[in-house]
Point group: C2
Chain length 468, copies 2
């Protein structure tokens, strides 16, 4: 799949995920099929977050003076912010920003909400649309001007250690989510020059797309006390002192959907994890003149049985050639197809076809076991999709020992390159310049060896890759 970009654009259209013809660049319409995938993914994500976060909803618009309060933060966003300047025909007294992210919407309120140490920790999240006036080439679900599925969490703590633990907890949450979607990832600490504007440090999840480029799919920021000081968020300690809080925030975007589609897809189209597939199973009756009604009846009953056990199933009884139906459902990524013809019926068999392996299986039909059978296959599909995807990522994660090797590897094979680094900013930027790709970040500490660029003592094992 060398032309991933083209494949991705085509499949969004053919599988009716997104309509890109909306008359504003970088803003798209979620079609019913795409919306269901998004909804199922969000349902899982929310169920994980709901364990120890509270869902809230803040306004879209942020007054200019609030957005401008945290200088480092606003500098990172000022070129990308959409501004509302008029209400009706009236110029507004104060410009209003469409949120690029919600720190400056939320934190003035946090300053009102946090009173005593007993109020802490606080953990909130919201699922909202955010806006970036992207000047780069836009790409549906990957680089957009309206992010429709921004899931941002914001937490408040009394001390630095708790904030660090929350960063770890957020990494666990996102790992659990991506694991259930079968999305492989590397987690790194972003270089200083690439961290979130206003953060002490940024941890990031990147996955690898089939064209060998990485896609940032999630970030976790330790904000330290920067915003607390800007927005005066303080709590009263046991002995009546007022102290600044420590904060973290972390977010996912539409890219979670891009990665689900992009990582698992193949030449035949999408291949969806059962957890998010709008239909997990499609039943296709194979109709001949003889015995058509029996086959249809049987398929209808099977559908009802599967549906009543909670499986998302569709009976495709349209008057179309079976081959056309097969093509369509494979392209749309339905994890499991069940085919039943008159001969199968006579022989007491059903045919299962897995989307992930494209393997056909003829199994004996037993009414009391068919739900378990289907659930078992869906489980195997989930596991296999994840294993395949991890294999692909790990095969394309290559350790190198010299700068030349790094450059050659990236140019010839793409993927992710692992190398030893001194950690110095000037050296890192010099290396990015020489290799012409970005340093994703630091993966772990290194005890021995030397930096592949400056030859000083290596402090870290780090990753670099061509990125989206």
């Amino acid at each position: 799949m060398s032309k991933f970009s083209e494949w991705f654009h085509n499949i969004l259209e053919e599988a009716e995920i997104i309509d890109t013809r909306y008359p504003i660049k970088g803003m798209h319409v979620w079609l019913p099929q795409g919306f269901q995938i998004r909804k199922n993914a969000l349902k899982l994500l929310k169920s994980i977050l709901d364990e120890d976060h509270e869902e809230v909803l803040f306004p879209l618009l942020i007054p200019e003076d609030e957005l401008a309060k945290e200088a480092i933060h606003v500098k990172g966003f000022e070129e990308e912010v959409y501004w509302v300047t008029h209400g009706g025909l009236t110029p507004l007294g104060k410009k209003l920003a469409l949120r690029p992210t919600s720190e400056t919407a939320m934190y003035p309120m946090f300053a009102l909400w946090v009173r005593s140490h007993q109020d802490l920790p606080m953990r909130f999240y919201q699922v909202v649309n955010t806006f970036r006036y992207e000047t780069k080439h836009t790409r549906p679900l990957i680089r957009v001007r309206e992010i429709t599925t921004f899931t941002e969490a914001h937490t408040v703590h009394t001390n630095s250690q708790e904030a660090e633990e929350q960063v770890e907890r957020a990494i666990e949450i996102y790992s659990s989510f991506f694991d259930q979607m079968g999305i492989p990832y590397v987690v790194t600490r972003r270089p200083e020059w690439d961290k979130f504007p206003g953060a002490d440090y940024t941890m990031a999840f990147d996955t690898l797309l089939p064209d060998g480029k990485t896609l940032q799919i999630g970030t976790v920021h330790n904000l330290g006390q920067t915003f607390a000081k800007t927005f005066q968020i303080t709590y009263e300690t046991d002995d009546g002192q007022h102290e600044y809080v420590y904060q973290t925030c972390y977010g996912l975007s539409d890219r979670i959907i891009a990665s689900i589609l992009g990582v698992h897809g193949d030449e035949a189209g999408l291949s969806l994890p059962p957890e998010v597939a709008p239909y997990q199973v499609v039943v296709v009756p194979i109709i001949f003149k003889e015995g058509a009604q029996e086959v249809l009846d049987f398929c209808g009953e099977l559908k009802n049985q599967l549906r009543s056990s909670g499986i998302r199933v569709h009976l495709d009884d349209r008057d179309l050639r079976a081959g056309k139906k097969f093509y369509e459902w494979e392209m749309r990524g339905v994890p499991l197809r069940i085919e039943i013809g008159p001969r199968d019926l006579k022989e007491g068999k059903i045919v299962l076809k897995r989307r992930d392996t494209l393997e056909k299986e003829f199994v004996e039909y037993q009414e009391e076991q068919v739900v378990d059978l289907v659930n078992d296959r869906l489980q195997r599909i989930t596991t296999n999709l994840k294993e395949q995807a991890w294999e692909m990522l790990l095969e394309n994660l290559r350790e190198v020992n010299t700068l030349d090797e790094a450059r050659d590897t990236i140019q010839e094979d793409g993927g992710i390159v692992s190398f030893l680094w001194c950690g110095d900013e000037a050296c890192g930027k010099d290396m990015e310049e020489k290799v012409q790709v970005d340093i994703l970040g630091i993966q772990e500490d290194a005890d021995t060896g030397e930096c592949v660029n400056c030859k000083e003592k290596a402090r870290y094992r780090a990753l670099l890759a061509r990125t989206y």
Copy 2:
């Protein structure tokens, strides 16, 4: 409850529904408690719509030229539209509107989607935020500048009759939703001068708030072919002709939450229908020195039992006076409270207190029946809230025979006034002027009698009321 307005504002704050201190007028923050009520209401609404609608998601921003295409429509909104004029520091070539509603975002796409009569009917909905630059006094959940919970459906049909049937179907859907929320309503056809800009006619739901003023809580519009002609939405008939489609749209807003809170609440605070209550049941252990652990253990087990049967239950084991807890949970509107003290435990009893009637009930505790018992009481609460609310509305729906009577009734009793009307626009506006309140709309045809204003033959029974 003469000071409803004050009550409403206070309860939003005290019960932590909405924080109104966000630094933009008419834009508010949904707090965790309020968010859960909203989420539960939306869950029910979506489950009804999902039966025959597909959920989609369109961009927030609408290009100026699309918004301006339908002249009548844009005239209705032009004074209320927020405009985005800058991306970063760059003036945009084309201004972008924050959607006040989504006809002009959706219908250019519908023109691409609708091809043949086989594609129709189409029925879509989305839940989004919309914006109105309100110049009137804003009020949380009732008159806001960011509507956060706009649930708008849009349908497309081949013929006029089908569109009319869809209007009826939408009225059924909304009736079913409001019935399950226990919200009473009157449905009328809005006068010509008060219909949706661009619609052939508008049907509307109004409920009655405790201060005797009505609140519009839902609208259903038959759009005829107006937008089809503007946006060139045509379909190919069986014989290859191209015909304009017929359309309807209908929507609900944050006011559904306002009405749930406002209609059922009382001096003690909120009284939530079990369907939407964040907690349906709160278990309060009554702790004395003696037997405290046994009581706590029992309450914990009861909580687990109720929770595992799908009831949203909370165990309030905070170290606080029971009276303080009672006050708080009553104010927050939890439908059912279960109190258990050491003496109850000994006697094998539990105490149930219903929020709606504030009645206490001592019942024998039987482990295998307690779930049914609680579900039965929740069901009774649902029914009673609805009956009480309908009674209140019907008591305040008064038939009058003269204009003076109408004026006096509105001034003395508020509520809704039912009268005979000729249906003439000039007469209607004259009457609104004389009585100084709005005509809600036409409820039904009238066979006999004369118009209370102009004394011509009455054609309709209509309603008027002081409105929000």
